[in-house]
């Protein structure tokens, strides 16, 4: 079969690219290695983790805050198999939705491992051992990423696990040793900490979520410690051994002294690596970048081979589903001759811990490094009526604005539902709004979004009303 576009990989980058290509009248096919569509995000990432985060949050509230709310419960228990079953149902519904969308948009889907024979021919190796070749004028590589493994610490996927296995545990760990204080680890660590596990985070850096504004990491650390999580920062993990149901993790503390931790599960969450295995890139002359094994692309996301594009986790930039989606739309429209644009500085970053963390634009550290003159205003959720009503008073909103023009340069939030609130900041910044613009836009009361308005007031002229 001859196609205008063949997409390899059906994660949020790939399936969105395929649908957009089809919308634009391009004859499109998509190749997926796994049995279900949706890639990491829908199957073993964003969606299932949110399902478990929500379940565990309900339990956490039932166990700890219901009493204060005036609700009495007896015999509260975690039914782990049911929790996982519900999560799986969410995943099934969502991935089935992708199948429906492909049909609706007339995207032809192939189940099998796609690889390049040459720049216009894709070989699909199927599970039953057969194979089929299809040809394409354009190919979009959207093969995503896999959890990074450490050379001295191989997951056995039973006791030493990655995020994929952590979404399918049959029991609540007694002591979960979490290697890595990044987004994925802290989200999954939160799930099990809420469900009653002891969670110890071992992090190499001296802070958690270290790529985000430092204020957020410091605030989140406080909140997670309240949840009972323990943190060993500036610790370098040296190895892990499994003996029966016990895992022993060894690490060097900041002074270089050896320590060891004993638990029943060890979750390795030290990042993700671009996944291009068996793609046959060598057949078309594409080599991988030394660092991160990513595929080099130009500003149009085109690789060194004309007509071959790459998007999402396999190329430079943040490994985020929504970044991959936007790149999928970008490439589809570019192939169709349009001139789309992505503002990479305005891709929001979100962490679904509780309180949630969300961020867009420059961090305070980046602005200092640029030597840019900025003003800062922040507002704590403690002072928000809405937050007090729901007993979610941890966190704050910080607004950074240009000292001269008052233009928003960065917005950093930690607090209830800020993963949703951040959208307002992204819209405002896409339209180059100033802090005062936000302060002068009516915000419904009582809502969590008022905290953004108050922080904007503080940044404008240090004139927040409610603090």
């Amino acid at each position: 079969m001859q196609y205008d576009v063949v997409v390899i990989g059906s994660g949020p980058g790939g399936y969105v690219a395929a649908i957009r290509c089809a919308q634009l009248g391009l004859k499109t096919a998509i190749v997926e290695k796994y049995a279900t569509f949706g890639g990491t995000c829908l199957n073993v990432g964003c969606i299932p983790s949110k399902a478990l985060l929500d379940s565990s949050e309900h339990y956490q509230n039932a166990a700890h805050t219901f009493q204060t709310h005036g609700i009495k419960l007896k015999d509260l228990n975690v039914d782990m198999p049911q929790m996982i079953k519900r999560k799986n149902e969410v995943v099934e519904q969502t991935t089935a939705g992708i199948t429906y969308l492909f049909k609706k948009n007339k995207v032809t889907s192939y189940q099998g491992h796609g690889s390049f024979v040459d720049k216009n021919t894709i070989k699909i190796s199927k599970a039953d051992g057969s194979s089929e070749n299809i040809t394409a004028k354009n190919v979009i590589i959207a093969t995503g990423s896999k959890p990074t493994e450490l050379p001295f610490l191989k997951p056995d996927k039973k006791r030493i696990i990655t995020s994929t296995e952590a979404l399918n545990l049959k029991e609540v760990p007694k002591h979960l040793i979490l290697i890595g204080g990044g987004v994925i680890g802290l989200e999954l660590g939160s799930v099990y900490a809420r469900l009653g596990a002891k969670v110890t985070v071992v992090e190499f850096a001296d802070s958690i979520i270290s790529t985000m504004d430092k204020t957020l990491g410091a605030e989140l650390l406080k909140s997670l410690k309240k949840l009972g999580m323990e943190f060993l920062l500036s610790h370098k993990v040296t190895g892990a051994t499994v003996k029966g149901t016990k895992v022993t993790v060894t690490a060097d503390d900041p002074s270089g002294k050896n320590i060891s931790l004993e638990g029943d599960y060890c979750l390795l969450a030290v990042g993700r690596t671009a996944y291009t295995e068996g793609l046959g890139l060598e057949n078309i002359g594409i080599t991988l970048e030394e660092r991160g094994k990513k595929i080099t692309v130009n500003e149009h996301l085109e690789t060194l081979v004309p007509g071959i594009y790459a998007i999402g986790d396999v190329v430079r930039g943040a490994m985020l589903a929504h970044k991959a989606e936007d790149e999928g739309v970008f490439v589809a429209e570019y192939i169709a001759g349009q001139k789309p644009h992505i503002n990479y500085n305005l891709i929001p970053g979100v962490v679904y811990t509780w309180p949630e963390v969300a961020s867009v634009g420059y961090t305070e550290e980046q602005l200092k490094e640029q030597g840019r003159k900025y003003k800062s205003g922040s507002f704590p959720f403690k002072a928000s009526g809405r937050a007090r009503a729901s007993m979610d008073t941890d966190g704050l909103v910080k607004v950074l604005a240009d000292a001269q023009t008052d233009e928003l340069l960065g917005v950093h939030m930690i607090g209830p539902r800020v993963a949703d609130v951040i959208a307002e900041a992204v819209v405002a910044m896409e339209f180059r709004a100033s802090a005062e613009d936000i302060a002068r836009i009516c915000h419904a009361h009582p809502t969590f979004t008022e905290a953004f308005k108050e922080a904007a007031l503080a940044a404008t002229d240090n004139r927040a009303i409610h603090i």
Binding site: Q338, K339, P340, H341, D402, T405, E407, F431, R432, D437
Partner: protein
């Protein structure tokens, strides 16, 4: 205390200038060294600056011709500088909340011209850099971007195309209006004047460039080594022209009133394309210069022209002009005389053409040359003879040495 601002001496041969534009108006407060008016001579434009701060009182009017030293305006010391600059605080005296000027409608915001994401895509696809922003603070809304497209569409001819007509590619068909610069206006005026006031016509010939190309091929490295400048065609042409001018003095002459002024020197004007437009700097006493000196002079003048650093002196005078349309690929043209001169030589591109040489067809690098001249003082015999002579000297450069 008032200070009279006079037309400064701007060049040796310039006796008068035209006040082309007041940049500041009568009664305006001006800072010291601020530009207050634009003056132009027939060669270039100048800016008149304030010699001190104060209130401007204009004396001359736009379009007036002023002699060097004539008073253009005066500046009264003092004046209401702050009031002029900041109109808002002045209004504080009359507290009228409702009459506050609608500053919001002004588009001097940092975000003026910033397109929304959808508008940016539309503009990019229309090949437009920007358009008028009607959004808050001058932001470009999606509607603005769509209109930018619609405006160009309606600009297309309204006559309904017949069914059989081929599809017309749609694209930007906008008009753009720009005020002519003073220099451009001067050039325009003078070119039309020359066409109207002289009896101009053009004679053509062709030059076999092989001999000069051979010389260049043979000596260009040595020449560069010795003189520090490349050996181009310009020096040969200038030299040949100077020789020919000696033999046909009318071509090097000009009409002044009822008299013909003959020059026993050759100042060759070279037409150079500069950022602001065409300029014509002069190689003085070119007839006395070596090829290397001419090449150096050409390089110097062209560099200055490109950097807008030519002084008025360097563009004033000249007895004959050479223009080279060949650098832009021109095959043949009829140049316009650079008044008050009487003739101009047009060089063109060098193209390999089959030519008959001693009864054989040979491929030679050929150039057409054109001489436009003022028939009032140059007869056909002289103009044609001049151009033939130039051709002879170029086709056999040894003649330049021997003067034959």
């Amino acid at each position: 205390m008032s200070l009279a601002i006079k037309v400064p001496p701007v060049g040796e041969s310039i006796t008068e200038v035209v006040l082309s534009r007041w940049i500041k108006q009568d009664g305006d407060y001006v800072e010291m060294d601020e530009i207050i008016a634009e003056l132009e001579s027939d060669k270039a434009t100048f800016e008149l600056t304030a010699e001190k701060a104060g209130t401007l009182k204009t004396i001359a009017k736009e379009g007036d011709t002023l002699e060097i030293g004539a008073t253009v305006c005066s500046i009264e010391e003092g004046g209401a500088a702050p009031a002029e600059k900041k109109a808002e605080p002045a209004k504080v005296e009359t507290p009228q909340p409702a009459s506050k000027p609608a500053a919001e409608t002004k588009s001097d915001s940092y975000a003026a011209g910033a397109p929304s994401p959808a508008a940016a895509k539309i503009l990019a696809e229309k090949g437009l850099e920007t358009t008028t922003g009607t959004g808050v603070g001058g932001r470009i809304t999606k509607e603005d971007a769509l209109k930018a497209q619609a405006a160009t569409k309606t600009a297309a001819p309204a006559s309904a195309p017949s069914k059989t007509s081929a599809p017309v590619p749609s694209g930007a068909r906008g008009e753009r209006r720009e005020k002519m610069s003073s220099l451009r206006k001067t050039v325009a005026k003078r070119l039309v004047a020359v066409k109207n006031e002289t009896a101009m016509l053009t004679t053509f010939n062709e030059v076999d460039m092989q001999p000069i190309m051979d010389i260049r091929a043979k000596y260009k490295d040595k020449f560069k080594e010795k003189h520090g400048v490349g050996l181009g065609f310009m020096s040969f042409f200038t030299k040949a022209v100077c020789e020919a001018l000696k033999e046909f003095p009318a071509v090097n002459a000009r009409i002044e009133g009822e008299e013909i002024v003959y020059n026993d020197f050759a100042d060759i004007s070279i037409a150079v394309s500069a950022p602001k437009g065409l300029v014509v700097p002069i190689i003085r006493n070119a007839d006395l210069m070596s090829l290397a000196q001419i090449e150096q002079a050409v390089v110097d003048l062209a560099t200055k022209a490109r950097e807008n650093k030519l002084a008025i002196d360097e563009m004033t005078g000249g007895t004959f002009t050479i223009t080279n349309g060949g650098v832009f690929g021109s095959m043949m043209s009829t140049p316009i005389i650079n008044a008050p001169q009487s003739a101009i030589l047009g060089m063109h591109n060098i193209v390999e053409r089959p030519v008959a040489i001693n009864g054989q067809v040979e491929i030679r690098p050929m150039m057409y040359v054109a001489l436009s001249y003022d028939h009032r003082i140059i007869d056909g015999r002289e103009s044609v003879g001049f151009l033939v002579r130039v051709k002879q000297l170029l086709e056999d450069p040894a003649r330049l040495l021997l003067g034959v």
